[in-house]
């Protein structure tokens, strides 16, 4: 450890009771609860505050709020956390995590070290990519992950929507406002979406379906011009001329950097108990990065609340000098 790092490490300003990693709905909720309970809390976030919530144009099913943008809800949550004294550092890079000892250490940007007695991991998830040839090249040039952002670039054009869940079918219907034709391409023979979304999509004359098939290549010069689609049963490959592709095939948890640090399940989701406690003492997790079935703002908020209350109890017990064996939650 360099002398500079040591000087920073012993700086009281860098010592917290709890460090929350991630500032989506779960992390901000944890920040609100902990700071309001006078637990000294730092939220560290590698991207912009709000996480996946910010990527939602309209939230109409968050109880108590009739209609709000994801960005608007994130701003309110951030403001609440700050009002209670939570410190938030966003757009930083976490370069090292030491979670095994009693004092947890988080290194940021390879130079700042923050310490705490407890950690809440709420790193969220990100849109799953198809992984087909050309996907990176045509991002923003025909491939989109946001219908409400980019739909109007495809006025009277033919597009594909990839996916078979609620988001895919809801967005396919929404994109018929712009596109002349929408083809839903789904890798399975049946949809994972609720019946309502399937019915709405099937009602539209503009929407057709290619089931049991995957896009294997994106083709074009400056912008996307066509895709190669492979039937999963016959392996037959066909090429379709297309102007745009919108991808809604779910999310993957942001846990790559935690692989050898904390227990993950086979889908790389963090394993937690009912109190959001991980396999490491003093380390909790919440939100889209944990093992669970439903990923909503409301479930993330609930996870964040439970993780915060558990972490607060852990800190309280530590301060009272309760033995480690008694601290098992």
């Amino acid at each position: 450890m360099s002398s500079l790092a040591f000087i920073i490490e012993i700086n009281m300003d860098n010592q917290f009771d709890v460090i929350v990693i991630g500032a989506g709905a779960a992390g901000l909720t944890a920040g609100i609860y902990l700071s309001r309970a006078k637990v000294k809390t730092l939220i560290l976030n590698e991207g912009a505050v709000g996480g996946q919530m910010v990527l939602t144009h309209e939230i109409a099913n968050y109880p108590g709020v009739e209609n709000i943008s994801g960005y608007g809800l994130a701003r309110i949550m951030k403001s609440q956390a700050l009002k209670f004294g939570c410190v938030i550092k966003s757009n930083i890079k976490i370069t090292s995590l030491d979670l095994n000892d009693e004092i947890k250490k988080v290194t940021v940007n390879n130079k700042e070290i923050y310490t705490s007695n407890a950690i809440i991991i709420s790193t969220g998830g990100k849109s799953r990519m198809i992984g087909a040839v050309g996907e990176d090249k045509f991002k923003g040039k025909g491939i989109s992950y946001c219908a409400t952002c980019d739909g109007d670039f495809f006025q009277d054009k033919e597009i594909i929507v990839v996916g078979g869940g609620n988001s895919a079918l809801e967005e396919a219907v929404s994109l018929t406002k712009y596109a002349s034709k929408v083809t839903v391409v789904h890798q399975f023979d049946n949809f994972q979406a609720l019946e309502y979304y399937v019915d709405e999509a099937k009602k539209s004359e503009k929407i057709s379906f290619i089931m049991g098939s995957k896009i294997i290549e994106f083709i074009g010069d400056e912008k996307l011009e066509s895709v190669k689609i492979q039937n999963q049963s016959t392996n037959e490959i066909s090429e379709i001329k297309i102007n745009g592709v919108f991808i809604f095939i779910g999310y993957v948890p942001n846990t790559e950097s935690l692989e050898r640090i904390i227990e993950l399940n086979e889908w790389n989701e963090i394993v937690v108990d009912k109190n959001m406690k991980t396999n490491l003492n003093g380390v909790y997790a919440a939100g889209d990065s944990i093992q669970k079935r439903y990923r909503q703002v409301t479930t993330a908020v609930a996870d964040g609340t439970i993780a915060a209350l558990s972490a607060a109890e852990f800190i309280n017990d530590l301060k009272k000098g309760v033995g480690e064996q008694e601290l098992v939650h």
């Binding site: 991207g47 912009a48 505050v49 709000g50 910010v54 990527l55 939602t56 144009h57 943008s69 994801g70 960005y71 966003s90 757009n91 890079k93 991002k139 923003g140 040039k141 025909g142 989109s144 946001c146 409400t148 952002c149 980019d150 670039f153 495809f154 400056e222 912008k223 745009g244």
Partner: protein
């Protein structure tokens, strides 16, 4: 007008003045949407670090934003925001869709100037 803390470019004339009167300029042309907001936030944070770059935004749907929308460098773009990097009045880099702070920092370092730490 976009709800950011950046300088707002409101007309084609203002855009021309900005790029002609400043050596290094970054303009993000978008809406208050999910792919644009993270870029504005990253720019707001970088504004304090890159003193010799002018950071600005422009509303994509304003008629004068054609000065960005119709750039040859943006002809293949089909995702918001359109982000343009200018040096001495000339476009040196243009990107479409969301970019992380790390990606923006790399482009500023590569295309525009040396970072001035404060």
């Amino acid at each position: 007008m976009l709800n950011t803390n950046l300088t707002h470019v409101l007309s084609e004339k203002e855009q021309l003045e900005l790029i002609n009167n400043n050596e290094n300029v970054m303009i993000c042309c978008g809406r208050m949407g999910p792919m644009c907001i993270p870029v504005y936030e990253a720019m707001e944070e970088l504004e304090g670090e890159y003193k010799n770059v002018k950071f600005a935004d422009m509303e994509f749907d304003s008629p004068d934003a054609k000065v960005i929308r119709n750039l040859p460098e943006a002809r293949s773009f089909q995702s918001l925001p359109f982000t343009i990097y200018y040096k001495n009045g000339k476009v040196v880099k243009a990107t479409s869709s969301i970019q992380s702070k790390d990606q923006i920092t790399a482009m500023l370092d590569e295309q525009l100037v040396d970072k001035i730490l404060v």
